[in-house]
């Protein structure tokens, strides 16, 4: 111990920047992603190839797009369970519009409008009727899916123009990166700015920590939540259009159960289920982690049900992990306190 007893400043209590960067949930998940990528490349023969990378990105694009808005929604402490159904509904609307002879861009606009209206409906019920987001979106999950299945039954609309279906699967030049990633990156920049660099985004975190405190400090809580739900519906509809074009078929049961994968990825990526904490780089790593795992398992001929089990267990494990860590921290603090009280500190 040092001889001088200079007063300690707050800097003495801060963790070094390296430690701060390495010990976050986001870093842990990025590290896990890298481990999975390296491990899968070594173990699964065909994993480390350009074609696999392309398919991986095509597959996760839907989840990536939706998670950009699901993350802010969960940071405010809400949830949107209706996104998977909205993907199905917008797919059907898009298909029906195309069947009626409308050009594809008009169909896309229709689908996006339906998404925005659906999101507005969710948000209005949540903020103006003051209902829990969980209850509302369980209801609209059934309602949107019901309308989608009701409109098309078990039939499917196919035969979309080739230039559009090809575009959904196209790659940028000779690179293995799909064109859809351009759209994703543009939206990502918007989402990062919105969540991490704007006043609106600070409001989102504030709402998640305490709605009352946020309201007192000048955040328009109802408006912020409403906007997020409208964005969520719209982006789910956009994902629905992409989904339809990618598989070339508009069906009412498209993307059933997608909400789980989105929520699992967001929670895995370090967004607290209680709200108030999270970052987009973690969320994206979470999406790619689940995508890479299921892609590697599929290449290794593991069936999709095992992938379902792994997704479920990962989701449970990632939410439990933080409370288990908290418990250990509390135990350690208690032990430290006990040893400190039993034997008074002696100078070394």
């Amino acid at each position: 111990m040092s001889e001088t007893t200079a007063p300690r400043t707050y800097k003495d209590f801060a963790q070094p920047i390296v430690r701060r960067l390495l010990l976050t949930r986001e870093s842990a998940i990025i590290a896990l992603l890298i481990v999975v990528l390296i491990g899968a490349s070594l173990i699964v023969p065909s994993f480390a190839s350009a074609a696999t990378a392309t398919y991986l990105m095509l597959d996760v694009a839907t989840i990536l797009l939706i998670s950009l808005v699901m993350a802010p929604i969960m940071i405010t402490g809400d949830i949107d369970l209706s996104v998977g159904s909205m993907v199905g509904l917008s797919s059907v609307v898009f298909g029906v519009a195309f069947q009626a002879g409308l050009p594809v861009p008009v169909g896309i606009v229709f689908a996006l409008v339906v998404g925005a209206v659906g999101g507005l409906f969710n948000g209005w019920l949540i903020t103006h009727i003051d209902l829990p987001a969980l209850a509302v979106t369980i209801g609209t999950m059934a309602l949107f899916r019901g309308i989608a299945v009701g409109l098309l039954g078990t039939t499917a609309v196919t035969g979309f123009p080739q230039e559009w279906t090809k575009l959904a699967r196209a790659k940028i030049g000779d690179s293995p990166i799909p064109v859809i990633m351009i759209l994703f990156v543009v939206l990502l920049i918007g989402a990062v700015w919105m969540l991490h660099f704007s006043k609106f985004g600070r409001g989102i975190f504030a709402i998640g920590l305490s709605k009352e405190a946020a309201a007192f400090s000048g955040v328009d809580v109802a408006r912020t939540r409403l906007i997020l739900f409208v964005l969520s519906g719209t982006i789910a509809a956009l994902a629905g259009v992409y989904f339809t074009l990618r598989y070339g078929s508009a069906r009412g049961d498209n993307a059933t159960g997608l909400e789980l994968q989105v929520i699992a990825a967001v929670v895995l990526g370090g967004v607290s289920v209680f709200g108030g904490r999270g970052a987009l780089h973690g969320v994206i790593a979470g999406v790619f982690l689940i995508g890479a795992l299921s892609s590697a398992l599929r290449l290794a001929n593991v069936t999709s049900d095992v992938i379902n089990i792994i997704t479920g267990v990962l989701l449970v494990a990632s939410v439990i992990a933080s409370s288990v860590l908290d418990w250990f921290k509390r135990q350690r603090a208690r032990r430290a306190l006990r040893s400190a009280t039993q034997q008074p500190v002696t100078a070394g």
Binding site: I129, L131, L143, D305, V306, G312, I320, S323
Partner: protein
Amino acid sequence: MTSTAEKPSVVGRKPADPAFKKKSPLTRIFASRETSIAIAVILIIAVTTLRNPTFLTSADGFRDLLVTPSILLVVALGQAVVIITRSVDLSVGSVLGLTAYLVGTLFVAFPSIPIPLMFLIGLAFGGLLGLINGALVAFGRVPAMVITLGTLYAFRGINVAWTGSNRINASDMPSGFLKLGTQQILGIPVLTIIALIALVVVAWYLHNTRGGREFYAIGSDPEAAELYGLQKTKRVLMAFVFSGAMAGLGGVLYAARYGTINSQAGDGFELQAVGAAVIGGVAITGGTGTVIGAALGAFLLVTINRALPVLGIPDFWQKAVVGALILGAIVLDRVMAKRNHQKLLEKRDR
């Protein structure tokens, strides 16, 4: 502490203030959610029967009307208890499917298992899966929704991995067990009687025992309940074990009713179970509602589903109807709660 006698101060204040006057039992019955749901069920049956008399009057029609909701009824019972304690159990459909397949497999391996024992096995296995949910929720201290969403997929995945493309057919199960699906006592199907017995026991427990009231106390204000000394962890655990056990019972009933069980048995059941409870007046925010309401909600959902094709609406629309009913129910609850709150404020200010 177990005495339910009211404190004299409360009793003494009651008659003096008209605001505290109790409504007559008749008004209460007519104003309740349960009554309006029951009326809705009767209306649907009446309208559908006018359209196609066999819906109610034929022996099969009458039996189906009672048997089909029984499975959803028991699952909704468990769901209602969980929702009353301010949680939700989204894994019930997967638990039901897994238990139903277990029942079928056991019958294939040991055809001579007595049927009552099979019911116990179903209850125990479902309860065990519920215990997993409950332990994760109660000790992990994370929202039940996320946990049970995870186990919904994990349990279903296990079911698919175990079953594969196999399936249990009616010929694999003893005829005595399958007869349960068609047998009647005094004109009432046996499966319905089993479901109604479960309903009466649970309704009695929730209303008349200390343990039952604690579920409500925890649901209406978890922090206050804990401060008061209620064992929240134990109760939440119990609610999930019970919900799992009821889903397990639902699995046994499912096997007896349908005879064929594949890996997708009970898929999407969680939505119907939550829907039945919410439509029946169990508030998703916890603390209020009755299992009788949830049971009537189950009857309403299943009856609508069966009435739609008769009324000339393709049953593809069934899910949309479920969604609209759930939304209608939660909005109604909210409006009523606001009005009640307003009334109480006015009374206080007077």
